[in-house]
Symmetry: C2
Subunit: 251 residues, 2 copies
């Protein structure tokens, strides 16, 4: 698809941490754009690097408004980058933007991917996602808890490594405990797990622990959680899932 340079919107994931976690393509799009739009926390992160851009934002929970702002600005002939944390296509703004795009046929939209928290946090812990895995959000803001609980149970039965986004918030302080209790109906309580807080930012913390200990872990909204599969091991303090199943090796 050819998108004219005018009326162009880039939806860009800026990675989970500092500017180092941004891709070179996203950086270049920020360099050449007129306007940067995003949730305030992320636009503030960009200002020191791109002080001469126009910045626009809307608060949390005002996502549709933020998207329409992007289309309106692009409709005025500006080149717009909408920034999201991590990857724009993983619990980010890409879906809503593309759902609204048919209302703004004069605008061209391109998604540019970034490093999502699942892989960035995995690198801090070691290599937990080396084999098949599931990414599941514990937020029940837009998904009923019964659906989340079923996904957890089936992912554990499938022996997938599980990465949890949004494991807790002020309102949902016991959700990680509830998730662990569901997982413990299938998994051993000694199953190797890991947590990373503030990935790539000041105060980054990581810890490897058992599922039993994870159940008591005080996660917050800046935590990403990993539950190993049956093969996951702790090696030199790191969480490592082997690439395959050597004992049952097919060839």
């Amino acid at each position: 698809m050819v998108i004219s340079e005018k009326h162009k919107i880039i939806i860009a994931g800026i990675g989970p941490g500092g500017e180092g976690s941004m891709t070179r393509e996203v950086w270049r799009e920020l360099e050449v754009c007129d306007t940067i739009i995003g949730y305030t926390v992320y636009t503030e992160l960009m200002k020191p690097y791109f002080p001469d851009k126009e910045y626009l934002s809307t608060p949390m929970r005002r996502e549709e408004e933020r998207c329409r702002l992007a289309f309106e600005q692009a409709g005025m002939g500006k080149r717009v980058v909408m920034v999201c944390s991590g990857d724009a296509g993983v619990y980010g703004m890409a879906g809503l933007m593309l759902s609204l795009a048919p209302e703004y046929p004069e605008c061209g939209v391109k998604v540019v991917s970034g490093v999502t928290a699942a892989t960035a946090g995995a690198a801090v812990l070691g290599a937990p996602l080396m084999h098949d895995f599931a990414v599941i959000s514990l937020s029940d803001l837009m998904t009923p808890w019964e659906k989340i609980a079923k996904r957890l149970l089936l992912a554990a039965e499938a022996d997938l490594v599980i990465c949890l986004y949004n494991p807790a918030s002020r309102r949902r302080s016991d959700y990680l405990r509830r998730a662990c209790e569901i997982l413990m109906t299938v998994l051993e309580k000694e199953c190797i797990c890991g947590v990373v807080r503030q990935i790539g930012r000041d105060g980054e913390q990581a810890e490897v622990m058992t599922l039993q200990r994870l159940r008591e872990y005080p996660a917050d909204m800046f935590t990403t959680v990993y539950i190993g599969n049956s093969q996951t091991r702790m090696i030199n303090g790191r969480m490592v899932t082997p690439r395959g199943y050597p004992a049952e090796r097919a060839e």
Copy 2:
């Protein structure tokens, strides 16, 4: 963990495509290192950008040898970057490197994450991974097919979006068909799916189609495949999964 600059090995994902898909941190590590080690395809990609580095590689299937080479070079006091396609921690070299690390206590190993094919291909297709998803490899080289089949079935029952890596090879030309037939025991044959070939490279191709059509799709080893969940739609030719389940909205 503090890693001395000497005897240091960085395991870096270079993204799935050109240099634009590399993070700024990975680029800087390549700039300051002495030696770049990797599968030949990836070391060749680096040479035009970093012509003055020492390059070492081993062929496909010689992964352990490649890892030991990295530790030996670092043990000689060189600063080494091992490059992997996509993210080093998703079917990459990070797991094997960390498993061997205890044999080389003089070396410090750091994993630096990159953009994995799942999210990069998703950006090309639209926004298929906006909600909970599973990443499953169809390669049965190190995992028995029965295990893969079970994971496919449970992921579909969990209504997870599914991203398939390694959907086919010369030896496994019918594996995507077999996977689709398993998925069709649970999913509607009109379920929205997508494929991307050569993500971020010359000849990149993407197509959105039904599960029924996907069953006949001639995937190759350069293809990444996406199977939507019950909410996934085609919007303006793109594959989009909504962020939540508005009809069942919890609050």
